[in-house]
């Protein structure tokens, strides 16, 4: 069954050459830049190239076995999980908070919204540079003030601090994005429902937890999935600019490892096997997202 195939046009045009021509550009580009490379990744993941790249030895699932027993790779899985959860929480909670406040204002919420959109437009890599600047061990303002308070900030050596910094830098721009969705969802909550609860004497926080939050759950679930996908795949720029995966691989998430093993380490077999594992992860996340979207369309 096609995704979304509950809807089809009754009226269609005849002919098969024209539609094939129309669809050709997308199919050709997808084939060359998507299916062929993805196929290559699967194929290469079954081989170990010799050090000179002249020939390759077939190892079957050897690369995968090696990866799954490799403590660095397993550590990278844990790092990715911790990182994604933290980014999701750090971007969704402040966004929800701001959206709830903005929703209580009759006037002026538009101005705040315009201002809060800004960080969404800032590239993750640029966000990385901005946060690196604030926490730079030599010139950073925040790290300097922390020093005055007696706290010696050094994310170059301290893995925990490095993780904290990449999480905050990654979550920052996402607050805008999540805010827009929460705000739109809050505005869609029927006023009559809330007013009815207010007449019954329910306080703001009581109304929020018993009525508003449950009504927001489709949006919340959607944002959870989208933010996890973001943390997995779109934060490369943040990590590359701030920590380059360090110190001691403490911020090497899976996507970063594909890059560093494939391009820096030149370990093509392992990098390809990692790509294949990520392909599976993406596939699963896509299925989850679509299951949810189909359900939501039926509402």
């Amino acid at each position: 069954m096609l995704p979304g195939s509950w809807m089809e046009k009754r009226v269609t045009f005849k002919g098969w050459l024209l539609p094939l021509l129309l669809i050709a550009p997308q199919v050709v580009i997808s084939a060359i830049f998507f299916f062929y490379p993805a196929g290559q990744a699967v194929w290469q993941s079954l081989f170990i190239p010799d050090p000179f790249g002249l020939s390759a030895r077939f190892v079957g699932l050897g690369n995968f076995e090696f990866l799954l027993s490799d403590k660095f790779y397993r550590a990278s899985f844990v790092t990715t999980a911790v990182f994604s959860i933290l980014v999701t929480l750090c971007s969704m909670i402040p966004a929800l908070f701001l959206a709830v406040i903005a929703d209580r204002l009759i006037k002026g919420s538009g101005v705040y919204r315009t201002l809060l959109i800004w960080p969404y437009a800032v590239a993750p890599a640029v966000a990385g540079v901005l946060w690196l600047f604030m926490f730079n061990t030599r010139v950073g303002v925040v790290s300097w003030y922390l020093g005055q308070l007696g706290y010696d900030w050094n994310h170059v050596l301290n893995g925990g601090e490095a993780m904290g910094l990449v999480v905050v830098a990654s979550a920052w721009g996402r607050i805008s994005y999540n805010f827009l969705f929460f705000f739109a969802a809050l505005q869609a909550v029927p006023r009559s429902v809330i007013e009815a609860a207010a007449i019954d004497g329910a306080h703001f926080w009581r109304r929020f937890f018993t009525i508003v939050l449950p009504l927001l759950s489709p949006t919340t679930f959607f944002l959870l999935v989208v933010n996890i996908v973001y943390a997995f795949f779109e934060t490369f720029g943040v990590i590359h600019t701030i920590t380059a995966g360090g110190p001691q691989q403490s911020t090497t998430i899976l996507v970063y490892k594909v890059f560093s093993d494939g391009f820096v380490g030149q370990d093509l077999g392992s990098s390809s096997a990692q790509s294949v594992i990520l392909l599976v992860v993406v596939g699963l996340l896509t299925v989850i997202q679509f299951k949810f979207i189909e359900k939501r369309v039926h509402y």
């Binding site: 096609l2 009754r10 009226v11 045009f13 002919g15 024209l18 539609p19 094939l20 129309l22 669809i23 550009p25 997308q26 199919v27 997808s30 084939a31 830049f33 998507f34 062929y36 490379p37 993805a38 196929g39 290559q40 290469q44 402040p94 204002l105 705040y112 919204r113 201002l115 809060l116 959109i117 800004w118 437009a121 800032v122 590239a123 890599a125 640029v126 540079v129 901005l130 600047f133 010139v139 303002v141 607050i175 994005y177 827009l180 969705f181 006023r191 007013e195 207010a198 795949f233 490369f236 720029g237 590359h240 600019t241 594909v258 890059f259 391009f263 392909l279 996340l285 896509t286 939501r296």
Partner: protein, 285 residues
């Protein structure tokens, strides 16, 4: 009655001011990194390397921005801005065109292989280039497209989000319009140009905003395939401005570049806010 209830739901008086205060505080915290970058782009290097740096802008605005735009570190930032512009517009326009065409074919025709093609496109949904970088790099290198605009653009337009958005939209166009066109003996492409395209205007605009940002903010892909500084995009070029050894980074110029890198996408997002929000909420739904 209704007014009193309103009073209970929306804040007034002291509560209202408190709400505004929270909101302003939130905006200030969110804005702080951008403000600091702006301040750093208007002061001298010695002012920055002796912390704490000033919190209000200095008088070096023109000096730093001129240095960034016309000489930069490896390559003038003006060049990188131009490359980013070509890449972002190329990706946005390219994706919109191929998606409009393929969505039209899928919705308005029954042709052999339709389901297979639809699934092919569906599979490309959501899979970022980051996951298949090594083989995609090899393909692009094989075509001799390293350090070229086509190498920057083409691999990134192979994804299906836009196709799905247009498909969803085309399905809502009343059948009567296509029926009438068919009765009048209009050819499919006539119908596409005269009816479908004009109706898709707002969707196209909303999508343009989102895709422009997506293209502008790319990092890993340009990092891999532009080895020639002349082809660097601004977002990836900033990192290249940091010295590799123990030298101190030229912070005022780097921060001026960061500000320059965020101006075009911010202008696009803020000026097309309504369309952008609509497009965002619609396309992700």
């Amino acid at each position: 009655m209704a007014r009193e209830v309103h009073g209970m739901v929306e804040k007034r008086g002291a509560g209202l001011w408190l709400t505004h205060l929270f909101m302003i505080l939130g905006v200030l915290v969110i804005f702080f990194p951008i403000w600091l970058a702006f301040v750093a782009s208007t002061v001298t290097q010695p002012e920055i390397v002796r912390p704490p740096m000033p919190i209000w802008p200095g008088d070096q605005f023109w000096v730093n921005y001129k240095a960034a735009l016309f000489s930069g570190v490896n390559v003038p930032v003006g060049t990188m801005l131009f490359n980013s512009l070509v890449m972002a517009i190329g990706i946005a326009v390219g994706k919109i065109i191929i998606s409009l065409l393929s969505a039209f074919a899928i919705v308005y025709f029954r042709f052999p292989g339709r389901n297979i093609f639809f699934w092919m496109i569906f599979l490309t949904l959501m899979l970022p280039v980051e996951v298949r970088i090594v083989p995609t790099f090899e393909v692009v290198a094989g075509f001799g497209m390293l350090n070229s605009y086509s190498g920057l653009i083409l691999p990134l337009i192979a994804s299906a989000t836009a196709t799905f958005l247009f498909r969803q939209f085309f399905l809502t166009i009343p059948d009567e319009l296509a029926e009438a066109a068919r009765v009048d003996g209009a050819r499919p492409m006539r119908f596409f140009v005269d009816i479908v395209l004009p109706m898709s205007r707002t969707n196209v605009a909303a999508l343009f905003v989102i895709l422009f940002i997506y293209g502008w903010n790319q990092y890993l892909w340009p990092l891999l395939i532009t080895t020639d500084p002349e082809m660097n995009t601004i977002v990836m070029g900033i990192k290249q401005m940091f010295p590799s050894g123990d030298d101190v980074a030229e912070w005022p110029v780097i921060m001026a570049t960061s500000i320059l890198a965020m101006i075009p996408p911010v202008i696009v997002v803020v000026s097309m806010q309504r369309l952008f929000i609509r497009g965002l909420v619609d396309s992700e739904k």
